[in-house]
């Protein structure tokens, strides 16, 4: 069994199979085939791009159709609405400012009232000082009259209180003292006697 035997056997088997079938090939046919292949290769992306472009265009057209251009009347109506809204906004702002101002004033008034409440009443102070001065003067006059027995000085002091503070209660006391002194001087001339005088409400 040698190489020649294998070769012969293979060639006989090959010859028995017959000649293969194939079409005639030409350069023109190949060119046509290459053109078809090229078209097939570019047709898919080109078609896809065309479809995408068409879809985009359609969607844009649909979007524009859904949003019509505004008409002049609609513009005027919108302007009126805007003005009304502006007026409402201004009124609201004014009201808010007024409320805030009133609140600020109320708070200021309350603060002033509190401050005022903390200040003592000057009339009362004056009355108290007047009352004190009148009492002191009555007290001095009583001492002059009772302890030092200086009746004339005491009478002058009582008269001074009546003159300076006629409506004060110590003016009434001064009047009583003067009346007593008058009675006593009258009685002294009749009978000797003394009456004690003490300040009240000190």
């Amino acid at each position: 069994m040698n190489e020649e035997q294998i070769k012969t056997l293979l060639q006989k088997a090959d010859a028995a199979a017959g000649k293969p079938v194939f079409r005639r090939v030409t350069a023109a046919e190949i060119r046509r085939r290459l053109r078809r292949r090229w078209l097939a290769r570019i047709s898919v992306p080109v078609s896809a791009a065309a479809v995408a472009l068409l879809a985009t265009t359609l969607s844009i057209i649909c979007m524009r159709a859904q949003k019509p251009e505004p008409q002049p009347q609609q513009i005027a109506s919108l302007e009126v609405q805007v003005r009304q809204l502006q007026a409402q906004t201004d009124a609201t702002l004014r009201l808010v400012r007024e409320v805030l101002e009133r609140d600020r004033q109320d708070r200021r008034l309350a603060a002033l009232e509190a401050e005022l409440a903390s200040i003592p009443d000057p009339m009362r102070e004056i009355d108290a000082q007047v009352d004190k001065t009148a009492f002191l003067r009555i007290y001095q006059a009583d001492r002059l009259y009772k302890e030092s027995n200086q009746t004339e000085s005491a009478v002058e002091a009582y008269k001074e209180v009546i003159q300076l503070f006629p409506k004060n209660r110590w003016a009434d006391v001064a009047r009583e003292r003067l009346s007593e002194i008058e009675h006593r001087q009258i009685n002294k001339s009749d009978t000797k006697g003394e009456t004690k005088c003490e300040p009240q409400n000190v």
Binding site: L9, L10, A13, D14, A16, R23, V25, R33, L34
Partner: protein, 189 residues
């Protein structure tokens, strides 16, 4: 001298094609189409219809002929394209329909019944099946050497292998064939 004249004529055709003369390509096709079809038919297992592969081979040749440098014979270059196209074709076909066990076993089950003609036909079919079920690397060298009649050096050039490697591969392929077809070869001897 005749071979040299043929080579120079092929080079002239290639040059004419490069210059845009499509008729030169038609002439090349006319010269080599039968051989290309035969090689494709053998490499694909003698299916008979090899039109697709032949068309593909010449389309590739048409596209690549302008880059053909003439470092080998045009026939060898066309055979290289054919071998590569057949590999791709078989790979695609095998993915779709792998070789069945029945096909492989049919090589070893000769049917000796019937008359002489029928018996010969069966024998040759068995031989073709034996080649067909060989591994690709062995099938290619067997076909190129014994059916296409290529020299070992030319085969090495075509398959991008050294001469020694081609020889080793051929020996192994022959051993495989002997294993498959030993009875037929003994009968003949």
């Amino acid at each position: 001298m005749a071979a040299m004249a043929k080579i120079s004529e092929e080079q002239a055709l290639v040059e004419r094609f490069r210059r845009g003369d499509d008729s030169a390509f038609d002439r090349i096709v006319e010269r080599h189409a039968a051989e290309i079809a035969a090689l494709a038919n053998r490499l694909l297992g003698w299916p008979g219809d090899v039109d697709d592969v032949v068309q593909d081979v010449f389309v590739s040749a048409f596209l690549g002929l302008k880059r053909f440098r003439g470092e080998c014979r045009l026939r060898t270059w066309l055979f290289t394209i054919t071998v590569n196209k057949c590999r791709s074709h078989r790979f695609r076909r095998r993915r779709l329909r792998p070789v069945t066990m029945e096909e492989a076993q049919a090589v070893e089950s000769p049917d000796r019944a019937g008359d002489q003609a029928a018996m010969d036909e069966e024998t040759f079919a068995r031989v073709r099946r034996a080649v067909h079920v060989l591994p690709q690397k062995y099938r290619e060298v067997v076909i190129l050497r014994y059916l296409q009649g290529l020299e070992v050096a030319e085969m090495g050039e075509l398959l991008n292998m050294t001469v020694n490697s081609v020889q080793v591969r051929l020996n192994r392929a022959r051993r495989r064939l002997r294993e498959q077809l030993g009875d037929l070869l003994e009968e003949k001897s």
